[in-house]
């Protein structure tokens, strides 16, 4: 009998242990218990060299003062990080700061009650904060109609054209005079392929970001009604009625003629350019250092091309990348620490260094000027292309950015339909009609869930 009682006791205590393990103390409680600096957790999605840079920024901040300690934690890919953040919020274990990619912006903005707007954090933290010091085309993406900044831009990039100068020279083309229009891109590609220098003219990374979103911005045409979603969640896509359709018709035709070679979603097309299979690619300005490391030929950067048959020149391009959001549910002292950290992060020195190291855009004018003064662009002329493209023109309603809920899935839908168009399964019109139809369904879903 005694042994049975022991067994029961052991089992009971085991199950109690299991239960209590599942419940952990919230971050607020943990911070209050510790005597040292106030800890600020920062979940991010920066891997490799970028992740090391993030660690360095945090440890520099920690070394500069003793009140706060920022702890960066890598949570995997962008979508992993966002999902982890959301799950953490639901169980009351959210970090202070989370990095969310630009397609998650609509979702985060709608999450009132989960998110503490950055302008509030800065005001309550008593940190001097001037939104006009930030690059308008960057902050515009993360700011309400009233001009209130909701998240802190961190790593923003914009796409540019990369071209292989050696290949241009080998085909008898001027390596210092890259094509500016789509007409020229096609012509140059034909020459490059005919001369046998490359197997196809150009490819693109991030096919929706480049060929639909940025394509529309630089041609000053709308993606949807309601100023690309800035004016309300009831926006409807219209890109099946614009130049985007003709452009995809041409891309599909070019795919057959080896002028264009589809290289997959996200940045999987990168190796096509690295291995000189194609002579031109379109991609994030943040890819600059990667190409410099991986290409054993000379390459240059240039502006995104436009259809000379339809417009006279380009507007600004729009950004991609990610921003830092602050979660609700922490103490005032912790938010003060977040404010201090954001202020440090925005300083010209930190931003200029981040910009030069990664190829992401500097988020303040001061950082841009500092980089100029340091002579960085004289040494790396290709690195300024993105900034010129972003800042030369005043953004319009069509080039301010985009703000759609569920955009992560919608971008996948656009990718689906682009693939169907490029493989010849659908015409450009059919594909874009379907993308708009399916995209609108998701917009309505989002409207319902958040309305």
């Amino acid at each position: 009998m005694k042994s049975k009682v022991t067994i029961v006791m052991v089992l009971l205590s085991l199950s109690v242990l299991l239960w209590s393990n599942g419940k952990q103390d919230g971050p607020a409680a943990a911070a209050a218990e510790s005597k040292g600096p106030i800890e600020i957790t920062w979940w991010h999605a920066m891997g490799g060299a970028l992740g090391e840079k993030v660690d360095q920024i945090a440890s520099d901040f920690n070394a500069g003062q003793s009140e706060y300690k920022v702890i960066p934690v890598n949570k995997g890919s962008y979508s992993d990080t966002m999902t982890a953040g959301i799950a953490a919020f639901r169980s009351g274990e959210q970090p202070h700061i989370i990095q969310v990619y630009e397609v998650g912006t609509g979702t985060m903005m709608a999450a009132k009650g989960a998110i503490k707007p950055v302008y509030e954090v800065m005001r309550e933290g008593g940190v001097s904060f001037d939104p006009s010091a930030y690059l308008a085309t960057v902050t515009g993406y993360y700011t309400t109609a009233k001009g209130e900044m909701l998240s802190m831009p961190f790593n923003s990039s914009t796409p540019v054209m990369y071209y292989n100068k050696d290949a241009f020279a080998a085909a008898g083309l001027d390596p210092e005079n890259p094509p500016r229009t789509w007409e020229e891109v096609a012509e140059v590609s034909r020459i490059l392929v005919d001369k046998g220098v490359v197997s196809a003219g150009f490819t693109t990374t991030w096919p929706s970001w480049l060929m639909v979103e940025n394509f529309s911005a630089i041609h000053d045409i709308p993606l949807s009604t309601k100023s690309n979603g800035f004016e309300g969640t009831d926006a409807e896509f219209v890109f099946n009625q614009t130049l985007v359709v003709k452009h995809h018709e041409m891309l599909a035709k070019w795919q057959k003629e080896n002028i264009f070679k589809y290289g997959g979603r996200q940045s999987t097309a990168g190796p096509l350019f690295n291995t000189a299979e194609v002579a031109m690619t379109f991609g994030s300005s943040a890819g600059y250092s990667g190409y410099r490391k991986n290409c054993d030929f000379n390459f240059g950067t240039s502006f995104l091309p436009y259809w000379a048959s339809d417009v006279g020149g380009i507007r600004n391009s729009i950004i991609g990348g990610a921003s830092l959001w602050v979660f609700e549910g922490h103490s005032a002292a912790e938010y003060k620490g977040v404010a201090e950290f954001f202020s440090y992060l925005s300083s010209a020195e930190v931003q200029a260094d981040w910009h030069q190291f990664t190829g992401y855009l500097p988020i303040t004018y001061a950082a841009y000027d500092l980089t100029k003064k340091q002579g960085y662009y004289d040494a790396n002329p290709g690195a300024e292309t993105a900034l010129i493209q972003m800042t030369t023109n005043q953004p319009t309603a069509n080039s301010k950015g985009l703000r759609f809920g569920n955009y992560n899935q919608i971008r996948d839908i656009i990718n689906d339909e682009q693939e169907a168009i490029f493989s010849g399964a659908k015409t450009a019109q059919q594909g874009m009609d379907d993308a708009v139809k399916r995209g609108n369904e998701l917009l309505r879903q989002f409207e319902k869930a958040n309305g």
């Binding site: 049975k4 067994i7 029961v8 089992l11 085991l14 199950s15 299991l18 599942g22 979508s79 966002m82 999902t83 959301i86 919020f89 639901r90 979702t107 709608a110 999450a111 009132k112 009650g113 989960a114 589809y262 290289g263 997959g264 979603r265 999987t268 190796p271 096509l272 291995t275 299979e277 569920n406 992560n408 899935q409 996948d412 990718n415 689906d416 339909e417 693939e419 169907a420 490029f422 493989s423 399964a425 998701l442 879903q445 319902k448 869930a449 958040n450």
Partner: protein, 293 residues
Amino acid sequence: MRDKQIIYKNPVLPYLLILPELVIILLFFFWPAAQAFYQSFLREDPFGLSSTFIWFDNYRDVLTDPFYLSSLKTTVLFSFWITLFSMSIGLILAWLVFQLRERDTYQTFIIWPYALAPAVTGVIWYFIFNPTLGVLPWVLSLFSVEWDPRLLGKQAFLMVTIALSWKQISYNFLFYLAGLEGIPKSYTEAAMVAGASRRQIFSLIIRPLLAPTTFFLLTMNMLYTLFDSFGAIHNLTHGGPNHATENLVYKVYADGFIGLNLGGSSAQSVIIMVMAVGLTLFQFRFTNRGGRA
């Protein structure tokens, strides 16, 4: 067997003894399953700030979603081809190895792939199949076959099928080999004395005696393609191009984790759960009747 059955005098003790296991199942299966079941009736924003009880709307949306139906079809096709490939190749290899005197080396090498994590398998095949970096596209280009699974759905499907079958061949091989070893030698020897050919021995003696193993493997392979295919699909195609390789499990992930549509994703996982339970019950029923495996 009945005479060996132990009857406990204390009616509570057996339950206490299985309590730890029950606690684990409760925590890691019933609790999340119940949550998924509940969530499948809600429309929620990702953060759980507002939720509306909408009865079967999520199920209706899922079942009328053409991509859900296509993922169902993809799942069935994957199951069919992967089961066919891996079981037939597994059986052939097992039969060949079984006839050898020295089996250990072959056995080890053939079983080896099974020890690899699905993600690793995905990466290996990614490098073989990658249109830009891979070996296979280069070989195919010598025969002027264009390889581009990034655009061509059929090629992507074939690629995932090969990657998934490869690993499963080891598993099937192992069970078939054990099955073959379990067949009394006297049967085949008697057949040989009677003058049966190898083919006759295989089709008239071996194959029927392996039937319980085949049946067991059939269910296991179907469960495998239903649940363990995620890693390979995620690494190779992300379900694309244009949903050509998106099966049920991958769609749960894509809608729930990428799309943050928790209600719809939960409804899908409930449907899969029902399917898996059905498949398992089916297997239990028939294997018990057969009295083997």
